[in-house]
Subunit: 332 residues, 4 copies
Amino acid sequence: MVIVMKPTAPQEMIEKIVKKMTSLGCQVHQSQGANYCLLGLVGDTSKINPSQIEANKYVDKLLRVQQPYKLANRLFHPEDTIIDIDGLKIGGGHVAIMAGPCSVESEEQLMTIAHAVKESGAQFLRGGAFKPRTSPYSFQGMGEEGLKLLKKAKEATGMPIVTEVMCQDTFDVVEEYADILQIGARNMQNFPLLKRAGKSQKPILLKRGLSATIEELLMSAEYIMAEGNLNVILCERGIRTFETYTRNTLDISAVPVIKELSHLPIIIDPSHATGKWAMVEPLSKASIAVGADGLIIEVHHQPECALSDGAQSLKPKKFAQLMEAIKKISEI
Amino acid sequence: MVIVMKPTAPQEMIEKIVKKMTSLGCQVHQSQGANYCLLGLVGDTSKINPSQIEANKYVDKLLRVQQPYKLANRLFHPEDTIIDIDGLKIGGGHVAIMAGPCSVESEEQLMTIAHAVKESGAQFLRGGAFKPRTSPYSFQGMGEEGLKLLKKAKEATGMPIVTEVMCQDTFDVVEEYADILQIGARNMQNFPLLKRAGKSQKPILLKRGLSATIEELLMSAEYIMAEGNLNVILCERGIRTFETYTRNTLDISAVPVIKELSHLPIIIDPSHATGKWAMVEPLSKASIAVGADGLIIEVHHQPECALSDGAQSLKPKKFAQLMEAIKKISEI
Amino acid sequence: MVIVMKPTAPQEMIEKIVKKMTSLGCQVHQSQGANYCLLGLVGDTSKINPSQIEANKYVDKLLRVQQPYKLANRLFHPEDTIIDIDGLKIGGGHVAIMAGPCSVESEEQLMTIAHAVKESGAQFLRGGAFKPRTSPYSFQGMGEEGLKLLKKAKEATGMPIVTEVMCQDTFDVVEEYADILQIGARNMQNFPLLKRAGKSQKPILLKRGLSATIEELLMSAEYIMAEGNLNVILCERGIRTFETYTRNTLDISAVPVIKELSHLPIIIDPSHATGKWAMVEPLSKASIAVGADGLIIEVHHQPECALSDGAQSLKPKKFAQLMEAIKKISEI
Amino acid sequence: MVIVMKPTAPQEMIEKIVKKMTSLGCQVHQSQGANYCLLGLVGDTSKINPSQIEANKYVDKLLRVQQPYKLANRLFHPEDTIIDIDGLKIGGGHVAIMAGPCSVESEEQLMTIAHAVKESGAQFLRGGAFKPRTSPYSFQGMGEEGLKLLKKAKEATGMPIVTEVMCQDTFDVVEEYADILQIGARNMQNFPLLKRAGKSQKPILLKRGLSATIEELLMSAEYIMAEGNLNVILCERGIRTFETYTRNTLDISAVPVIKELSHLPIIIDPSHATGKWAMVEPLSKASIAVGADGLIIEVHHQPECALSDGAQSLKPKKFAQLMEAIKKISEI
């Protein structure tokens, strides 16, 4: 950490800060320039509260040096985390494909799609039973009934289930049915939910918030890991920008950045990133080429009747073609 | 709603869509241009699922005409909503000032600040007992102990309490102590929490999410209102943009926009909007001048020792000066 | 400047960098932590090229301490710059009001509006003769003919003229007629144009780019000042964000931020900031309350016939009312 | 175009607007709902000035149906534009690789890099002689001297030259030496420059502005094309968002979006998109996989001595490896 003092800071105030920082357990080196005085802090800076320092009117700014996350940090855990679910691996170069409908709508719908994506090579079945919707008047999901159908689909296809958990109250029931618990973009900083997820034995698929920085995403992973659950899969799903042609803007650079900063697996959701089915194929190819550990894709056999996200769902035939292309790219 | 068909759309497909839309209960008017065919939909469009229409490959795009919120819409409720708490009014031209520390830290700290802000003319006491923090290693608030101190401060000063509720599990206890329940920016689309708030008898202070559009903010208010709680106070607290000098960017235009679209009161939080105490005074003045229904301001007598948000807290003396300026502007 | 070395950096590489930095004329202080080594650089760092340092694979990052602008920096010029045009002052607490049509369209149009705004108390007449338009098929301005009409309007009303200069080729002619030369948002980083403006004797009104940081705005002012023209007026006119209800998002915090960082006057353009005439009044009031040195406002007597920006133009009667309100707020 | 009237609009005003629109040459269809009246406009809407309509206080909003660009529009030109430069093709499935230093610094520097990138398979040599720099105190390029060196490098390697043109004053000289004229991101809406480029016989490489929408990029291409130069190559180079870890955010979706909307070639600049050399390889692979028509990459043999952009330049060896990977992906 580096404290930059204002040109007007009296020597006495600089000394007072040096003393306080030293008392908190770190070493301070002072560099005096013509206009600015820099205080370089090394050692254990964990007891320092940056906002208290910035409250001082003689402090110009505070520059952070270390990442604030530890358990998610590649610096302290150089090897890739690989998550194993019924023998299927996520992370460390394995490409995991999760596919299925946005929402579970009926047994027939789910079974049709589940068999189709399985046949094309998907390894995990996605499907929402509890649905976060912008409008209170939209379809809110089938709830536990939907979870039961997902269980049936798992029994029929052997595919582990990925489904969203929206709150503490329904956590236990979702945890019972799901193999991977998804925490949605809008809940990325729902801290009580993250803490509860940290106490679960199941892997967590944590989606990046619409306007979350990569560091904030890793801090949310840290919340889960700090409670004891180290099996966190990160998911880039598009961020909010000024561009309106696509629903969101896929931040594909997040993949190499996260590979550098963290050991956790990172997958991409091309369906939510654009909101348009025609964009899913090119973005999926790009995601594999950039080095993502997998994809989560919305597939529906009748998008024009889907209760949610029809516009961004691939038909099974398109999905099958996409799987062929992905196979070729991931071989390179 | 207007459906724009692609130039390649066959007549038969256009007729099919017209038929389906008519069967859902609305009237359709067709305008045929050289390249595009427009379908204008009027009447009851509530049964239409836009995403299903956009899934059709012959549909170019869908243009929405009506706002998706009803209860929060000024169109159906032209009069300003005025919320009355122990005789203090929020909305309709009354300027409500809420002030206090970011976090409740101790009885001494809270009492000192509460008396100071009361004396300067604040009407409501703010203070956090349950704190959402980006890092799991930061101070997480005093919890129920903090709520009890807030109650004491209310007894001592007569000021109603504004405090944040973070989750379903702690809702009941916060509801018991608070006069206004705050839902934070990061929870603006925590839909189960919004539904629970909708069942409360207490007014809800709903903060705009970091990257939420004004329409999304109003849809979140709609979630609360649809459950029966019509006492929602909106709060603009800065949005996330590319500018990094301030912590967030105060979207001051949100005030006149919301006044046009909705009848709900809208206040401003200048402390979080900038993250810098020196900016709080000018932004507070601007907020009153633009027509906001109030302010929520962080005040601390020792910012350099504050357990959270010291950098953006005003000292009591500065707050007193600010209250003088606010009084003059609000008289105009 | 602070160089943060990666944990893997060999001692030899650190020494090499220290040596190079010292040879460039600055002093280096080293702080060795458990994981990171910090190099604090003070003295004359102007010969250092940051990108060269970041190209080193052992460098984690580079933290800047000093602002890169000098002439525009309040640190080296604590007093407010006050610009005097025919006895009218801009900066240092004087509130300057510039008003007029978006485009000059005809003699009758310009004279009608000029007399109206003069009567309401505007001090400067704005009006575009060369117009930057997003579409090549839109009205591009009257060119020199428009400049001549502006001159006539000045003769008739006594108001100095503010008009936009778009390129090097037409600089001389615009310079001849205008009292203040406006450089538009889309040209904020048109560096050859900035250099030419720096050679002019006329004050420059420099508008902030749609996605320019405040630092970049000040660096563009520095370009002009470095060529010798110190009379730069900055203008905040809304930045581009994800919010689409308003055309842009007025970053009102830019005013106190710039007052802190620079001595140059800063005015606000509420017309472009929102794109809606109904928002101009509240935002103008807020701008004065926040401490802006003036406003530039679009006024048209027949907005529904305006060749450009009709949607954001105030009618003269509304403008007159606004001027009354502004007078009251600026008195406080 | 669709005009949405406010619920309060009197019938007489609706009729007045219908009449005016009809007089401008288009057909109007009226759909009357309970709260809103929709006016669907088809036929020739080119004479309508949207801002004039929005200036009417009874108009709620105006929804656009057609894209405002014509020459750049795939609707009117379904075949891909393929640009041929000395037998090298850009567009229509051909992958063009442009590589070289950010700035031309010396004959030795340029020749070393030119030979290296040629050997690895690059087809075009990039290099800046006139440099747009954020700071007036940074290296501004070698000017015409640099252009002469580029000519020498072309003679030695046979590679056509891509170089930036910054203004009208230096257009002629750059045009004389360059094979492709680059217009930089900060000049994307420098309309006089675009018009001049439209009169050139040389292909134009038009970079997307930092906060330009895809539609604005296509409108800028339209400016060039409307003057007669149809050889425009678009370039996505990262947009400005809230994420600060990378210099910009590569909007990789822009490639499939532009392929859908326009027939013009679209290439990607991964160097500026991230600002970090280590990200160039993964993003280049993703760019080819997503379907881009080419890449423009910064290469320097001594990045730690580069006069500009050292931090984002690849060393020749890394570039050679990247070319191998690109070849494999583009074969799929």
